[in-house]
Symmetry: C2
Subunit: 357 residues, 2 copies
């Protein structure tokens, strides 16, 4: 037990109080505001503030510990109002989340990317570990120059670790470019210059391909950034912060319906599949069929979905792939997106999975 | 089957389409906005609008049926954008809430109140039926003059229907006035001139008294309006419109803790108790103890509670009781409130319940 000065660490929705003995407890800002002495009747001391009138995203303007009490000045509160004061002993007594662990922060771009040592290697030697640990990796080509002929070398390097190419209704290698005419089923956003929101690929299949390689051949003249975001982390965050939203996303069936010129497939299932032995996210704004939910569940569905999308958007890593760069990610765990662009952007896409299918 | 012109009825969160054969179906505005053609890629036709970017309270500026299609102009949409168009056949095909019944509208003041025929009657003859049907009734004294001595006559009239007075820690008859010194435990908001939010009485008791009579002796010089709102209706509305919120309110335990100079009681249970054989609401901002919920449930709790409070506030009936007026309500079903006031307001309160306790 280490003795040190108590301190407060401010988070978005809550404060963590670290007590003098190293133990800690988390308190939502709304909880603290609701329990404080600012809105009580002067003679009876009764609370006169209903929690329905506190903004759900309220947070402290400033919070500090002075002596044996937490003090909070609230954002948006009149300057002449006293700060709220909470004796540390009272906080200990009412701690509803003692010694809670929080989900680790999202990976940064610096953590996902690696610059290759030579033109020979197309992926870093530890790519399988990185992929398993982080869900995605970005390999930068050292000279920034490479050609489409290296896609096959990449496939060989990945196949050496037991991953086989999965051919889909887009073919074996997808040429993501606006002038694509070689692939079947080019009637989809990937072959336009439009922005594409965060999504997973092929959620309308019973078994979407597990991994995708994106091999950048030519960047756009303008725009065309790539984004990836870890849905598994977002799901764990929700399970720890808003289990109600998590429950809606793991139980509400959604219909992913893809209908193209020469292809049609429908899959019905939840956005988040978090059975104990695996995790799988399916999300795709452009292939969702009209929702068929009971009327009474529709509100909660849109609310939960919006909260999840905001979470993955906030923690997305974004970067512009240069010629030769490789983005490899786990399509069961990560969402990906690209911004709109101008020019002859060319990215090659290949799906992989373990063993035969 | 009656044949008539199809029509659309706009509600706050949804539209009801009444088809030509008299059948109907309800569609949330957010669902309609998400499914419309305004945000689709010009060449592929894919949806480019994520529902997370639609305001949850979006509604139509104007909706109408022309020929065989529903047309919607959206609030906040650019004027040069085409209206959204939904063929009625398509709406029938995708109807997720066909032939749905909605909760009836809240009672109005005119429906709750009745003016007595003479100074002799203190309650209308059908008061037991009104109380059972509406949860509350307001009886207006014809001359607007009556004295505190009539409270006992009211008690007799109510007792004749099998309801007995329940004595509480405030006594047999509560004199709600700022200069009250006769009752025990006067250290509470009821004896001040402060506003009191919608609440139920005595939620901290295992069995809160079922009915309360409020007998107005002297109105305030200014303010002091009375409010009542039907929590049973609000609960049924939630069960039909937002079952997730309903679930949180019927399952999350809350601690009602009343500690006064000479009284202390604690009750732990949900806001809404809707077991099949009964309905009971408990709600009281000023006697809620600090919440002790799992960290991951706190967000959903505040969200659900706020939604419920807004509902009961929106459907509250408000009136100023004059001298002699009587407000009688079911404390297991109705919330009541009063606004702040100035002057020597005097209301007498008596609790009743069926049989011996």
């Amino acid at each position: 037990m280490s003795l040190s000065k108590p301190r407060v660490v401010s988070h978005d929705r809550f404060a963590r109080i670290v007590f003098g003995d190293g133990r800690h407890a988390d308190f939502h800002w709304i909880w603290l505001r609701h329990e404080c002495a600012l809105d009580r009747h002067p003679s009876t001391g009764e609370r006169t503030l209903c929690s329905s009138r506190i903004a759900p995203d309220l947070r402290a303007h400033y919070a500090w510990i002075d002596g044996d009490a937490l003090h909070v000045r609230w954002a948006g509160e009149r300057a002449d109002r006293a700060a709220s004061r909470y004796p540390l002993g009272w906080l200990r007594e009412h701690a509803y989340a003692p010694d809670r662990d929080d989900v680790e922060p999202a990976r940064t771009l610096a953590e996902l990317e690696t610059t290759l040592a030579s033109d020979e290697a197309l992926l870093p030697p530890d790519w399988p570990e990185r992929l398993a640990r982080d869900g995605a990796l970005i390999a930068r080509h050292p000279t920034g120059i490479t050609g489409p002929e290296h896609t096959e070398r990449l496939i060989d390097q990945i196949a050496a670790e037991g991953l086989a190419v999965i051919t889909t209704h887009f073919g074996r290698i997808e040429d993501l470019r606006t002038d694509n005419t070689t692939n079947q089923n080019t009637d989809q956003l990937g072959y336009t210059d439009a922005p594409i929101d965060l999504h997973t690929d092929q959620p309308f299949l019973d078994a979407p391909p597990r991994y995708q390689l994106l091999h950048a051949i030519r960047p756009a003249d303008e725009g065309g950034e790539s984004l990836v975001s870890d849905a598994h982390r977002a799901a764990r965050w929700l399970a720890q912060h808003d289990v109600e939203t998590y429950r809606v996303l793991t139980t509400t069936p959604v219909r992913f319906h893809r209908k193209q010129k020469a292809f049609e497939r429908l899959f019905t299932g939840p956005i988040l599949d978090a059975r104990s032995d695996r995790f799988q996210v399916r999300l795709s704004p452009f292939t969702m069929a009209p929702h068929r939910l009971p009327f009474a569940e529709m509100d909660a569905w849109y609310r939960a979905y919006a909260r999840f999308v905001r979470l993955v958007e906030e923690s997305a890593v974004r970067t512009t792939l240069r010629a030769g760069d490789v983005l490899l990610y786990d399509n069961h765990r990560m969402l990906h997106a690209r911004t709109g662009f101008r020019g002859a952007r060319w990215v090659r896409g290949v799906y992989f999975d373990r063993g035969a299918r």
